[in-house]
């Protein structure tokens, strides 16, 4: 009998020790693990890393300055909108290599595409952070205080949502004047209501949960409730929407630039590049093809990543 008791005691001690050895797994670690277990998430993350490396290492990768006009600077005379010259594929060794050809202003298209990633990424992230900060703030205030504050904020958002988004963006740029900063602001304003609505919905749910009430009972102030209890617990859907929103923002910015309302010509923005060479689609397809592909890959990367993230953060889908 006593032996049995001893054995079971040892056993329970062992179990205790095992339990103690288990390190708590943080939410983010688990999310990343689940994200990488899905193919879409993996490919998305890989592509995003790839684009980031290109953007960061642009001066190393790009053979020319993106705005340098190459007239008379090369040994062999350059033609306007010359097709790509790649030595591996049998281009004359005497000619300098231009992986994506030369554009209408005698600039190296490849370098411009590489530098363009910097602009696109910064547009994507800055518009989304702008929209998220504004949207989350407005949505959280509306849901937390309710009443007339809620009404005023949400009706304003409804008005913005009432316009077709690109049209409203064009109108805003028309008022503020074309330029990359204004385009960015316009896109942020246009996408903001989506975040406000989502945040409001999610805060309304979290606000009623037990731990929020418990915190009130333990003397937490409204500010603390909002910042440390409610917001962190309602961020999950916003993170997902923001990731997908980066893709939309890049696309919208490219669209505005294509129309001549965003980034202005010398800057190597993909949409601008597309727009300025669009009449030469048949004579110089490379000048339209490569910026288009670049936009597509970037948008695809963020969409795949966003999808993967949504699955990874969804508590209903277990691993």
């Amino acid at each position: 009998m006593s032996k049995l008791g001893k054995v079971s005691k040892n056993l329970s001690e062992n179990i205790d020790e095992e339990l103690l050895l288990q390190k708590p797994v943080s939410v983010w670690k688990r999310t990343i693990k689940r994200l990488l277990s899905k193919r879409s998430g993996k490919i998305g993350l890989l592509l995003i890393c790839f684009i980031f490396i290109i953007a960061i290492a642009a001066p190393v990768i790009a053979p020319y300055d993106p705005q340098e006009v190459l007239i008379g600077k090369e040994i062999v005379k350059l033609k306007k909108r010359e097709a790509p010259c790649i030595h591996v594929f049998g281009c004359d060794q005497a000619k300098p290599q231009h992986l994506m050809g030369i554009d209408g202003n005698y600039r190296d298209q490849f370098s411009r595409i590489i530098y363009g990633s910097r602009i696109s990424l910064s547009i994507g992230f800055s518009t989304v952070s702008f929209a998220v900060i504004g949207g989350v703030l407005l949505g959280a205030l509306a849901a937390f205080f309710g009443g007339w504050i809620d009404n005023i904020i949400m009706r304003m958002m409804d008005v913005i949502l009432g316009f077709p988004s690109l049209l409203l963006a064009i109108a805003i740029v028309a008022v503020l004047g074309p330029g990359i900063r204004n385009a960015l602001l316009a896109i942020a304003i246009v996408t903001l209501p989506a975040y406000a609505r989502l945040t409001r919905a999610s805060v309304l749910t979290v606000k009623e949960l037990d731990y929020v009430k418990a915190s009130v009972a333990l003397g937490a102030s409204p500010t603390r409730l909002l910042l440390f209890r409610i917001l962190p617990n309602s961020l999950t859907p916003i993170v997902v929407l923001a990731t997908l929103g980066i893709a939309t923002a890049i696309l919208d910015a490219a669209g505005l630039s294509f129309l001549g309302l965003g980034a202005q010509p010398p800057s190597p923005e993909w949409g601008t590049m597309l727009g300025s060479e669009r009449n030469q689609v048949f004579s110089a397809p490379h000048l339209v093809f490569f910026p288009g592909i670049a936009i597509m890959i970037t948008v695809l990367a963020f969409n795949l990543f966003g999808d993967g993230l949504r699955d990874a953060l969804d508590p209903r889908l277990n691993d």
């Binding site: 037990d210 915190s215 009972a217 440390f228 962190p232």
Partner: protein, 330 residues
């Protein structure tokens, strides 16, 4: 007038809710007092106003509820007249509360240690490092095994009993004068229940905190209470110290409750039940609220029972019952 050891004196507290059917009285003129180191149990079935009275005292009523009248004197101040700012200072500091479901009472995205130390930061204005030290001490006091590594755990990694210990640690962190426990053991299994109750009694001995324990489990009452308040339909129907109420209940409702406790080992075909249903709060009878289900009403007083709400008759200085039967025995 208040004696030194009285912590809380609630008088004629009445709480109403605005509903689509008009205003409904959820708590009707309840009164009690709470002394230092004492445990008061409020028992009653679901919807009888136990939790609402606690929430009224804490100023935590949902927007549709409001306190109609009454007072709750705590350290010479009326809690019911305080502003939100003043209440914020008291909550968690002088008056704490723990809830039914420990699993959902903790913030899921914050480490347990941070949540315990936060309470020190809010109320004692100390740095995070000091708060963490005190939090560790608190976790040791509530007997959490391996407190150092538990400090870093997230709530979902804790069992229900462990989470309730954390809640107790948070609630008692600032040595409150009053702890309101709203069915603290309902969501836990029986062995953990008794551990949590033991822990609460131990902590009470150490800190001399007065506890208001809200429960519908008469076993818990017998184990923990000094005084008992039995509620029915928003009213106090019987009060007294635990021994008297358990040994010689006088209100028919209390008696019926006692009779319906199953006794292990005793052979019975069916458990005793109280016939009928609790009347809806928006259609209360004009007389005694228990009259229709009462087993003891008799012809001599039945017109009284049906027409007039009985006042509380004090049988002796510490024991009273809201029943016309006691009219002569006062």
């Amino acid at each position: 007038m208040l004696s030194q050891s009285t912590q809380l004196e609630v008088k004629n507290l009445t709480t109403c809710f605005r509903t689509s059917k008009g205003n409904v009285m959820a708590v009707d003129e309840i009164s009690f007092s709470l002394k230092k180191g004492e445990t008061l149990c409020i028992v009653g079935e679901s919807g009888c106003g136990k939790s609402v009275s606690a929430l009224s005292i804490m100023g935590l009523l949902p927007p549709s509820g409001y306190v109609k009248s009454g007072s709750a004197i705590f350290q010479n101040n009326d809690l019911l007249l305080m502003t939100t700012k003043e209440l914020e200072k008291l909550r968690g500091n002088r008056i704490s509360m723990i809830f039914q479901d420990p699993g959902s009472s903790l913030n899921p995205v914050m480490r347990v240690g941070d949540q315990v130390s936060e309470i020190f930061q809010i109320h004692l204005n100390i740095s995070k490092q000091e708060g963490q030290k005190k939090a560790l001490e608190m976790l040791k006091q509530v007997e959490i095994p391996d407190p150092e590594s538990r400090m870093l755990a997230f709530p979902h990694e804790l069992s229900g009993g462990m989470a309730q210990r954390i809640m107790i640690a948070i609630a008692l962190a600032c040595n409150p004068d009053i702890l309101i426990a709203d069915e603290p053991t309902t969501a836990l299994d029986v062995t953990i229940q008794s551990q949590i109750l033991n822990l609460m009694s131990e902590m009470q001995l150490k800190t001399q905190t007065a506890i208001i324990l809200i429960t519908h489990d008469l076993g818990v009452v017998a184990e923990m209470a000094d005084n008992v308040l039995v509620m029915y339909c928003g009213q106090v129907v019987e009060y007294g110290d635990v021994k008297t109420v358990f040994n010689s209940p006088i209100h028919p409702y209390t008696k019926a409750l006692m009779k319906s406790i199953p006794i292990i080992g005793k052979k019975t075909r069916r458990l005793d039940a109280i016939p009928g249903r609790v009347p809806s709060l928006d259609m209360l009878p004009s007389g005694c609220r228990f009259e229709r289900r009462c087993a003891e009403k008799n012809d001599n007083i039945v017109s009284n029972c049906q027409n007039k709400i009985p006042p509380i008759f004090n049988v002796d200085s510490v024991h009273g019952s809201r029943c016309w039967l006691e009219k002569g025995n006062e």
